[in-house]
């Protein structure tokens, strides 16, 4: 038997001026289940709340309706008051008779009638309310960062700084990522290594950070607060804790024909190698496809020369299993494959390079020691043509439909650096639009054009070919309205960037949603840009969308602060208004799973006792920690098994009926 109370607020004259409160009270008293109804000037005040509390106790009310302002305003207040009087807070319903009634209607009669209807709908709903309890789940106070580039490093450092342990899982043998490959950074032109390597060292030495390099996350289960991850640590064939990073093995290794990934394959490295001089951890790794010993059993030179005794040809992949409260994706990017654009002859002419390759050529630690030389013959170039938007803003299927954002600025940087160091080199830049939104960005680009005499040509390049030892570029100058043919020594392609190919796999593992370009979707494009819609998964860096270093670092900090906020909690209380599946009705059709934006629905096959008939069936299971209560699943469910607590089908139907009475 329901014993309901209805409380009608005057809100001073805000409500009482247009709504006849007495009539609402009189009407409430005759509603089914209502045993008590009262009005008061200010229900939200201390005295008003006391009226509610006293009535709950005195009349043994098991549900209340407050006719007042918007629930967005005071629902929490009245729920707290009810809870204080021993009533389940979810047995409170609000009839919004201020914003939706008294404030918009001038006629008292119409206002009063509408208030009565709203009250009646709320009473009809509360009659069907069930006490709900906010769930609780534990929070494992450890975070996992996937990816050890600048995004991952910065996120981990910030989380570690707040006192929480963090693991960085990096698939390469060293952390540092793309930023480690860069020579200078725009718009200040400070050296990339000089600002990155101290952070790498900090990540190594911070006692809250554990670096798991040369490793990949294999499996993730669980949900916000308690994820379980299985990490495969690939065999290095070098004992990480013994190797001193002296590099003797590298010089002695006879198998020297491996492509140096760090230098974008512009030169070679031995089978046993340290990726670059400032690598963290500064430990060698053996490329098992290239090592003579591992492939033929003969050689073993590195083992002989290693004075520390760090080489171990028998090493196997190891697995690490760990629990985490939060996971940050920082999987980064790679440039797209320029050989798809055959008009630029990237795969046939050695002197056509991508910007990241030029970055290595310009770098003092690169294949040419920082001297600008043509890759084909090692000669000094006298003219360089830059082509922008190679694969960006391309909907033809060969490239990416988005703007890669960083190319305009790094091209300006390259052009400026070349003109500064080698004033004899002519530099032409073919562009569609120069996009330089950012602090000091446009000034930087203009400096390249004005002070450094970089020739910016509005137009595109149609074809590049080799002729008598130099390159010929045919392009168009749209401003001069003429086709131009340039003889040049090098062509640099500003290739589009795309999410690292591992991003899709990782996102699937984490049930983080991903867009058609493989960028990870944020929970809200404006208001929750560093969170995935899946609770407990956060985004840092280019995995969410193209961005430069300052933006990456700010996003990393933002993601870290979200993680810290989560890990600071001892328990997570979950919204009790979540979906719930009636296993007696569920037919396991998977419709609900497909519409759930949070991956909160899974399936379980177990024994079901259907009124005495025992049967093993596959039924939907809602993870209450993940469900956000949108209700999309309730509508697609063909058997009506799925319902939303607090907004159940019956409750909304009852409201509809009460309104249409």
């Amino acid at each position: 038997m329901q014993r309901l109370g209805v409380f009608v607020c005057w809100c001073g004259s805000n409500i009482a001026a247009t709504v006849d409160v007495d009539r609402v009270v009189a009407e409430a008293k005759v509603q089914p289940g209502v045993v008590f109804a009262q009005d008061y000037q200010y229900m939200c005040s201390e005295a008003g709340q006391n009226i509610i509390k006293d009535a709950i106790k005195q009349y043994g009310l098991n549900g209340i309706v407050v006719c007042s302002c918007s629930p967005r305003m005071h629902e929490a207040t009245f729920r707290k008051a009810a809870e204080a009087a021993g009533l389940n807070p979810y047995m409170v319903e609000i009839a919004n008779i201020r914003e939706h009634c008294s404030w918009i209607h001038k006629d008292k009669e119409a206002g009063t009638e509408k208030a009565c209807v709203l009250m009646r709908a709320a009473v009809a709903k509360v009659l069907l309310n069930t006490p709900l309890k906010a769930g609780e789940s534990k929070v494992v106070k450890r975070a996992l960062v996937i990816g050890g580039g600048i995004a991952g490093i910065q996120t981990a450092l910030d989380i570690a700084d707040a006192g929480f342990p963090v693991d960085i899982v990096e698939k390469n043998a060293t952390i540092g990522g793309r930023m480690a490959q860069l020579d200078k950074t725009f718009p200040t032109l400070d050296c990339s290594s000089c600002i990155l390597t101290p952070k790498m060292v900090e990540a190594k030495t911070n006692e809250n950070i554990r670096l798991i390099t040369y490793a990949e996350v294999e499996e993730v289960s669980g949900f916000v607060g308690s994820f379980k991850a299985k990490i495969r640590k690939k065999a290095r064939f070098v004992k990480e804790d013994v190797c001193t990073g002296c590099g003797v093995c590298m010089s002695k290794c006879p198998s020297k024909k491996g492509l140096n990934e760090f230098n974008m394959g512009l030169n070679n490295r031995p089978a046993i190698y340290i990726p670059f001089a400032q690598a963290i951890p500064n430990v060698a790794v053996i490329d098992k496809t290239q090592c003579i010993k591992l492939n033929t059993g003969k050689c073993g030179l590195c083992e002989k020369v290693c004075t520390a005794g760090a080489i171990d040809y028998t090493q196997q992949d190891e697995f690490i299993e760990e629990e985490y409260g939060a996971i940050v994706m920082a999987t980064g990017f790679r440039p797209i494959d320029a050989s798809k654009f055959d008009e630029y002859s990237y795969s046939t002419c050695k002197d056509v390079v991508t910007s990241l390759e030029l970055e290595r050529i310009m770098n003092a630690a690169g294949p040419t020691g920082g001297v600008l030389l043509r890759p084909s013959d090692g000669k000094h170039p006298h003219s360089i043509v830059f082509v922008q938007c190679v694969g960006s803003r391309d909907v033809s299927g060969r490239g990416k439909p988005y703007c890669s954002k960083i190319c305009c600025m790094y091209t300006a940087k390259h052009a400026m650096l070349i003109r500064d160091k080698y004033p004899d080199v002519e530099v032409h830049v073919f562009y569609i639009d120069v996009r330089t939104p950012g602090k000091n960005f446009d000034e930087f680009y203009r400096r390249a054009a004005e002070q450094y005499d970089v020739d910016y040509i509005k137009g595109q390049v149609g074809k590049v070919w080799e002729e008598d030892g130099h390159l010929v570029v045919r392009g168009v100058d749209l401003i001069a309205n003429e086709q131009i043919v340039l003889n040049t020594d090098m062509v640099v392609l500003a290739t589009a960037i795309e999410p690292d190919p591992t991003a899709r796999k990782v996102a699937n593992m984490l049930t983080a949603s991903i867009d058609t370009n493989d960028f990870i979707t944020e929970a809200h494009p404006k208001l929750r840009p560093v969170e995935s819609p899946t609770a407990g998964i956060f985004l840092s860096g280019v995995c969410q969308g193209p961005k430069d270093i300052p933006e990456t670092v700010s996003q990393a900090g933002a993601a870290a602060s979200k993680v810290i906020g989560l890990l600071s909690k001892n328990k997570l209380t979950t919204n009790p208004c979540v979906a719930h599946s009636d296993e007696l009705l569920c037919n396991g059709c998977s419709c609900c799973e497909k519409v759930c934006p949070y991956g909160a629905i899974s399936y379980d096959t177990h024994l079901i006792n259907d009124h005495g008939v025992k049967e093993t069936r596959r039924v939907a299971l809602v993870n209450e920690a993940l469900c956000q209560g949108c209700g999309a699943c309730t509508v697609v469910c063909p058997s009506g098994a799925m319902d939303l607590k607090g907004f159940s089908n019956k409750q909304i139907m009852a409201e509809v009926e009460a309104i249409c009475l």
Binding site: E99, H105, D107, E113, S513, I652, V656, C660
Partner: protein, 167 residues
Amino acid sequence: MSVNVSVNEPAVKAAAENAAGANTENKEWRPRIVAFCCNWCSYAGADLAGSSRLSYPADVKIIRVPCSCRVNPMFILKAFERGADGVILCGCHPGDCHYSTGNYYTRRRMALLFSMLDYIGVERGRTRVEWVSAAEGARFSAVMNDFVAKITELGENVKVGDLRCKK
């Protein structure tokens, strides 16, 4: 808008509501309109319309749902069965859904439902989906005024209604 808000004649429903049970014969017909509003955008938009004192007819009664995608087509059919003259469904603008994709589901579902309603003889104008953000109080009010005017024009809904529900 064409609908006069401050009608002096009490509306027809007063009879059902009023415990005293007044006579229903001579009163002006007013439409019954159910509005489903998502909690994050449209309900807040309706609140803003209220706090900005932007009036719309009292015939509109709002039901709060967490997301427009919570609205089961059954609710709309139920409303018509019970004698509603119009049902309007408001959600966040596409791309702004609090739950990322909810309103896209709404859009597809309602396209189907509306064509079915059309098929069974309920005029297209009686149902509507509108996107109203939390900042669009003025728009909420304008949409409601317009919708009520349209429904008033269409008159009482005689299709689908369950005669047993009629008093």
